[in-house]
Symmetry: C2
Subunit: 611 residues, 2 copies
């Protein structure tokens, strides 16, 4: 091929040079600065771990009694007191410690900068270890040393691919013993768990267990999840990864709003990742101003039925079409179905019936037979609801079940359910315009020409799911700086032997405030699958929050006019590169979302960290 | 809400200020410079239309005789000669002309900069008119004047929403007469058609028609399509919109390669928009280095069957898993199915049978009955292939047909077909490792531990379709400059009364060369649905091209190792903001893809253009 007369070998080598994470963009963005909170800078401006001391802030658990029972040693030690980081001010550095880090759960942008922050915080006289494939690697003892060179190479890059990740939950006695073995075999003084609510709950249990076993290893959690459902009021405005994921989705939704107005014929239905909480959806809505945005938490609060949701969307579509707008974007949060009270009821009844009559149902040959058997066993409302669902959804409910025999709620394609019902309703309105338009009660005022034009338009729907493409993007400047400081915080905590804390950074608008929250203070008691469990409470959208209130005030305007805006692809250079989530700025009462401040801009050199 | 104690009213107004296309990014990117080719700059560096003269280059039609018959007046006038733009050098400007522009077909990034270039080229002594909703608006006479202020506001923004677009083909005598009426009623001296191959063919016919009718209106086409299938060797390296769309897709595919390596469990199957040609897929592969990339043109050339394609992918997956890599990204071009010879044959046989026995087939009650009826009427190979397809695909082939009774090829979910067959094959390999691994002919060498580890891994697939999110993005710096110059080229041509040309810009690496290609020279004769038609030939991937050759040389390495790279989100500031497509740089024998040169960087002020 080198002999091909038209190929510039110089160009070919420029292209092969990009292999293995070395695109022009990747190489340039490795060199970008990150902001470092001042508590981590010594007088010469060099990075040094902070020292933690008790603040006057406390974080009592929701159910203090149960928590004390589950975490007696941890609670006795920290007494619900939040620690605050202070500059070391020339105190001699701690040396000779070995600190291991793992990623747990789905990827989120910034994980590699947590590692870089840890490496920078530990400095050259301590050792950073990486654990491969998350909790599974912790159990199996899959541990290696992270060099400064490797950490530098992954600085500012996306994904969790340096270590990999895994979703194993450490629950059994055997698993806990394996963890202890890994800690002892590798002489680990500190364990940093980068994960979401379940992983941080796990970290709390590991901290308690190791203390009980007399193993001197501090355990610190780091709040990661794109979903944004790990947040603790003023102490932790948001978890890392949320800013990047919402900005990737907002770029694409922004492009789709623009596409809808350009092709002037499509409604784009976009389902957005984010599991239970609608926080991703709310941020994307604030960024892009789509025609309709569903927020699960509000739907649950208002006890809305599927038909009411459909009516709301159809109502918006009708009014837009009368105003000459026959296109738009509709945002649907992934977790919606579990928030619709009537669906929740149907699913719980189905789970009961399917468990009780498992063999009878299995023996029935056709779906229709199974339906005939099941319907009379449901409440009349649930039977009626089930019969009104599209056939493929009904089939899923009856036939697809998880290992516990339960309906696979997360697999239900909510957007298809809504789309099918909306198509039907819209075609009915078109066929019976006399019934819906004109004068008289409950009718929509419209001139004969408007009605004629209305009838000439058709409904074209495209559906989309945005999820995986937002988890492993290169972190935004905000997430890159936020996570670097989380790494520095965790390094400082484990060097001082603090255990059972979550490293957090807050006050994003004025240089960053570095705290350690007692993990047990975040834990509450919940019923999961009929069993009481200690878990970290998910932070959902509160309809009383400023972010929801601003959205709620604007949405009718966004529904009636085409006021979309396109926040564009994430910029890493230039005037738009220093934004934070609008939701965070609103809910934290900051003055601006267009710029964050997490300290001094620093060029990071981890090669220095090599002994 | 203003009374909500926690809401900063200042912040709320900063957020509402972004409504209606005024995000921080949109407002900042409106102010970005574009590059202007030197032929459009006068001695003071101000923008002025170029003057066109005959070059020594010609572009004879493929089938000159037929073309002359279809476009007698046009061919007689331009004699296949390509025109070249030269600086006006102080020649007096042309004034008093009225020029109309329309968008046709799917949106592509940069359309608004074509308008801005037209406005700048026409200057304050000519009038720019916009036609709403594409060819439909041209027929209906939906015309309005475009102010400098409006053009300035849309400068550098994505989408076609300023005018909207439409896919109407102007074919009937009545439609041509309506076009003439619109031209006469609005005293239009020049008509600029921004569109793909079909729209530019239409432009050629309109030019011929208006000349025949004695209407003095020049018609100029502008090459638009994200698919990249409008390209003419050295004269037109690529159409506009391709760079932006491929960069949006490459951002997302890059994120998915990173996500696959992070979650260490998924194969992401990504189907990419691009209709017939695989040019989008090829560029995205060069940018991201995925595990497998299918190129339709190669598959047709090698006469590969579906089973051979499946075997190739399974082969890659097996070798990766043996090397400890159980994840990756697979790229599939949208148009694949039509390039698989056996599928093409099946579809054409089906179209014949379904037409011939339409009523018999309709009368048969079940799918099974219909299959039993159809199978014996197909060739044995086609019957066998059809029987081997997943049930839902078979159902689609038999039941879903377009208005002409043909199979809806574009609706066939190729990726699902491949996924189903791959799952089956991979589970067979896992169940019979003895048959596939070990020593002996045709077996894959593997140690017992490798085989054990192989068996412990599972196959998880996520499928994606990327399309609409890339059409209306904010144009890349390249597309923004390219389109502005295309607008300037078209303005210059219509001011001089040149008709039946396509405005093009080439030599992207050395300041841009401005040409006008005779539209009829691009036209060839093709059989479409059994009828001979004059069409612009699509430019497909040539397996002899440098871009394909480089890909083909690298792909085994990309398959065996995890060498992906992530080109990142499109940057509009900073060191990665001046790239052009790798495919273009390779196929045009440029020295670099990392920087383009289309002339002088200029801040554009269209408010000056107001009289």
């Amino acid at each position: 091929m080198a002999n091909h007369k038209n190929i510039s070998t110089d160009l070919v080598s420029k292209i092969s040079d990009t292999e293995g994470r070395h695109s022009l963009f990747e190489d340039a963005s490795r060199k970008l600065t990150v902001q470092v909170c001042r508590v981590f800078l010594d007088k010469e401006g060099n990075i040094a771990p902070a020292r933690f001391q008790a603040s006057n802030l406390t974080l009592p658990a929701k159910n203090q009694e149960r928590t004390e029972k589950a975490f007696p040693l941890t609670v006795a030690r920290h007494k619900n007191v939040i620690l605050e980081g202070r500059p070391a001010n020339g105190q001699p550095g701690i040396t000779g410690k070995r600190v291991a880090v793992l990623f747990s759960g789905g990827p989120a942008a910034g994980g590699h900068n947590v590692l870089a922050g840890l490496k920078a915080g530990l400095g050259k006289h301590n050792t950073l270890l990486g654990i491969k494939r998350g909790p599974k690697g912790l159990i199996q003892g899959d541990v290696f040393e992270v060099s400064g060179r490797a950490a530098q190479n992954f600085l500012n890059t996306g994904g969790f691919d340096f270590l990999g990740t895994d979703r194993t939950k450490i629950k059994s006695q055997q698993q806990f013993e394996n963890v202890k073995e890994t800690v002892l075999n590798n002489r680990i003084d500190g364990l940093v768990v980068v994960g979401g609510d379940d992983s941080n709950t796990n970290a709390a249990f590991i901290a308690e267990y190791l203390e009980k076993e007399g193993v001197p290893c501090s355990v610190v959690g780091i709040p990661k999840t794109i979903d944004g459902d790990m947040a603790v009021g003023k102490f932790l405005p948001i978890s890392f990864g949320y800013d990047t994921a919402t900005k990737v989705y907002a770029e694409l939704v922004g492009n789709l709003t623009q596409d809808a107005a350009s092709a002037v014929k499509y409604y784009h239905f976009v389902k957005l990742m984010g599991r239970t909480a609608s926080k991703i959806t709310l941020e994307v809505a604030l960024q892009t101003k789509p025609a309709v945005t569903l927020i699960s938490e509000e739907i649950a609060e208002k006890d809305m039925s599927i038909d009411q949701i459909v009516d709301y969307i159809v109502h918006v579509m009708i009014h837009r079409r009368l105003n000459g707008i026959n296109h738009g974007v509709i945002l649907i949060p992934e977790g919606l179905i579990e928030f619709i009270p009537e669906m929740k009821k149907l699913i719980s009844e189905l789970n009961r019936v399917l468990a009780e009559y498992e063999t009878d149902i299995k023996d029935l040959p056709t779906l229709k037979n199974k339906q005939e058997f099941i319907y009379p066993l449901l409440s009349p409302q649930s039977a009626q609801l089930m019969a009104s669902l599209p056939e493929e959804i009904e089939e899923m409910l009856v036939l697809d079940r998880d290992d516990h025999g339960n309906v696979k709620v997360s697999q239900i394609e909510t957007e298809k359910l809504l789309i099918e019902k909306i198509r039907y309703k819209m075609s009915e309105v078109k066929r019976h315009t006399g019934k819906y338009f004109g004068e008289g009660e409950g009718k929509i005022p419209a001139t004969p020409e408007q009605i004629e034009r209305y009838k000439s338009e058709t409904l074209s729907i495209q559906s989309h799911f945005l999820g995986y493409e937002g988890r492993s993007a290169r972190p935004t400047a905000f997430d890159a700086s936020f996570t670097f400081n989380l790494g520095l915080t965790a390094a400082s905590l484990v060097l001082e032997g603090k255990t059972g804390y979550m490293a957090v950074v807050t006050e994003f608008e004025k240089g960053g405030r570095v705290l350690a929250l007692p993990l047990s203070g975040l834990i509450t008691t919940e019923m999961r699958k009929g069993k009481e469990e200690q878990v970290i409470e998910k932070s959902l959208v509160a309809t009383s929050s400023p972010s929801f209130q601003v959205f709620a005030k604007c949405r009718d305007k966004w529904a009636n006019e085409d006021l979309f805006s396109s926040p564009g692809p994430i910029q890493h250079w230039g005037p738009a590169s220093r934004q934070m989530p609008m939701l965070v700025a609103l809910d934290q009462s900051y003055g601006d979302y267009r710029v964050f401040n997490l300290g001094e801009e620093k060029q990071i050199d981890l090669l220095e960290m090599e002994e």
